[in-house]
């Protein structure tokens, strides 16, 4: 079991967002979490990653059988959690290359390893940037500064490819992408999938799921998973919207 969330409740600025959420994700699986605006999708992503402004009031989050709910964000990253941000942050003055080098070496340091030799690092950067069809020049630019929406998301998946996480959470990775960028990003994610890791795709739309095919689809509504199914559930949601689920819940 890669991720096991049990009865998770959370508050942001005193407002209750998650209200008893449960989910289990096994190695090799792709899960999609869909749901209307304000259902708590991004909150869930941020809580798993350990963002401090989100308070867990009840419940547990286990990664590979270990409770991670008390860990700092960087410790969760070291344990293998990766979040592809909906809105990646711009950091002027730090190049993409230097940022990823620092991140990789900090992850290695946490595992008691030496810095990655420069030659290996370059080789890996070359390999992974080709996978995401990223131009060499792009790598020396300041992180996300002046990047288009598509470049930002590609850069997120590039970092994911470099860091090789156990659990990747893609928060609205498809938003702001044109169809070509979407294909490149999805292709990258698919190539990174293995029997040892897992992916959670958070999305509004079915579109991305044409490319990254989920094993399970969950509907998050009002802070809880209210319905789960296979990939066909996503198609049904796309066709019928969320209202029928709300009605099902009422009745």
């Amino acid at each position: 079991m890669i991720l096991k969330i049990n009865n998770l409740h959370s508050e942001v600025a005193g407002k209750s967002i998650l209200k008893g959420l449960n989910i289990e994700v096994k190695a090799g699986e792709v899960h999609a979490i869909m749901g209307p605006n304000g259902a708590g999708k991004s909150t869930l992503a941020n809580i798993i990653a350990g963002r401090e402004d989100y308070e867990v009031t009840q419940g547990t989050i286990e990664l590979n059988g270990e409770d991670i709910s008390e860990l700092a964000p960087e410790e969760r990253a070291h344990a293998g959690v990766f979040l592809s941000f909906q809105y990646p942050v711009e950091i002027p003055g730090v190049s993409v290359t230097n940022f990823i080098k620092t991140a990789i070496n900090e992850n290695r340091k946490a595992r008691g390893l030496e810095d990655m030799p420069a030659k290996d690092m370059l080789q890996k950067i070359r390999e992974k940037s080709e996978l995401l069809e990223i131009d060499r020049k792009f790598l020396s630019r300041s992180l996300n500064e002046g990047f288009s929406g598509g470049e930002k998301k590609r850069n997120e998946i590039f970092q994911m490819a470099m860091l090789e996480p156990k659990l990747a959470i893609l928060d609205e990775t498809d938003s702001g992408l044109d169809i070509d960028a979407l294909r490149i990003v999805a292709n990258g994610v698919n190539k990174l999938k293995s029997k040892d890791n897992a992916v959670i795709v958070i999305t509004h739309y079915q579109r991305l799921l044409d490319y990254i095919v989920p094993d399970f689809v969950h509907v998050l509504y009002d802070g809880k998973i209210v319905k789960s199914g296979d990939a066909s559930l996503a198609l049904e949601l796309e066709a019928k919207g969320y209202d029928w689920i709300k009605q099902e819940l009422v009745s």
Partner: protein
Amino acid sequence: MELKDKILSSYVAFENEMDMNSDIHEIRTKAFENFEKLGFPTKKLEAWKYTSLNPILKNDFCILPNKEVSVDLAEVRKYFISDIDSYKVIFIDGKYSSFLSETTHDTIDVCLMSAALTKPKYKVVIENYFNKIAKQDNLTSLNTAFAKEGAYIYIPKNVEVQKPIQIINLTTGAEIATMMQPRNLIVVEENAHVQIIERHQSLNSNAVLSNVVTEVFVGRNATVDYYKIQNDNLNASLVDNTYIEQKTNSEVSVHTFSFGGNITRNNLNFYQRGEHINSILKGITIIEEKQHVDHHTLVHHIEPNCESHQDYKGIYDERSTGVFNGKVIVEKEAQKTNAYQQNNNVLVSDKATVNAKPQLEIFADDVKCSHGCTIGQLDDDALFYMQQRGIPKKEGKALLMYAFANTVLDSVKIPEVKKRITKLIAQKLKVNIGFDL
């Protein structure tokens, strides 16, 4: 005895050793009278509203230090940029150290102010330039009254000096408290080029107050790059009064790196006397504890078609305090001036303070003048982003601060200086940044 009285009586002793018949004597006497009248600046003066010298003026300063103290090269080498070939003018407690220095009279003069003020061969240059642009304010007058030693640099027409010149003032702390009045004169003639690195360093924890005056004259088409490295200990204070006059087509950049000291006050003044002049003023301040750094800049645009670029960044931790007062005057004749001023500050601690004041006095109507000022905290979103990628909070903060200051380093033209500053910043931020940004 009050410090001012002590200074007044010391002056008599000082003058007794000097040549009473020289023109310099007259200049000193006038300056002395001026200081006698004005005294030390107080917070009542607008320019000193946020910087009080009172706490340090209580020290029983030795005004005319004359103990001969020798220092070990191994001990002070770290204060030089030693991995490059350079000229060096080095003073220990205000006295020239021929052992540590490397001066020259080959084509250019890199030597001593005491020689320039007394020897006939320098008479013309001294007459033309000495004390010509230095203001007649309190502390500059005090320095002029005691002007005797410092660096004298003369670069004749068309000479591109290949090696940087380092001016280093070391204080050994032989006295409980020492007051220094270094006086530098730098004349760069037409088409000439020179790079200068200046540093003041106290070698132990006894109090020091260095009141420095540097006059720089830059001829047509000449370029000067000036780097001031301020990383002194907690009992050493510095008042740096620098006056720069530029002629047509010249370019001067001054980078001020303020990383430590008790009270550091930088009065950096540019006077543009010509057209198509470019003046560049940059600074990085990173301080903590109860340190105080005050940048007072002045750019006086007198003639048309000139530029000035100011970019000062500050990172303030603990109870440190900072001041940025950037004054730009654009005279009526100075049409098509392009004056840019930027001052950004990060307060790392709740107890740190910054007072920022842009002061633009524009009398011309066809100019481009902009200024921007920010005072803020580190971006939490950026910090979380880095942590999410496995970079611990402390390293993430350092990386953010480092990146924040980075734009100022871009324009440093001596790679070894850039490397040194990078290292100092990493040290200041207590983190090992394993790469160049």
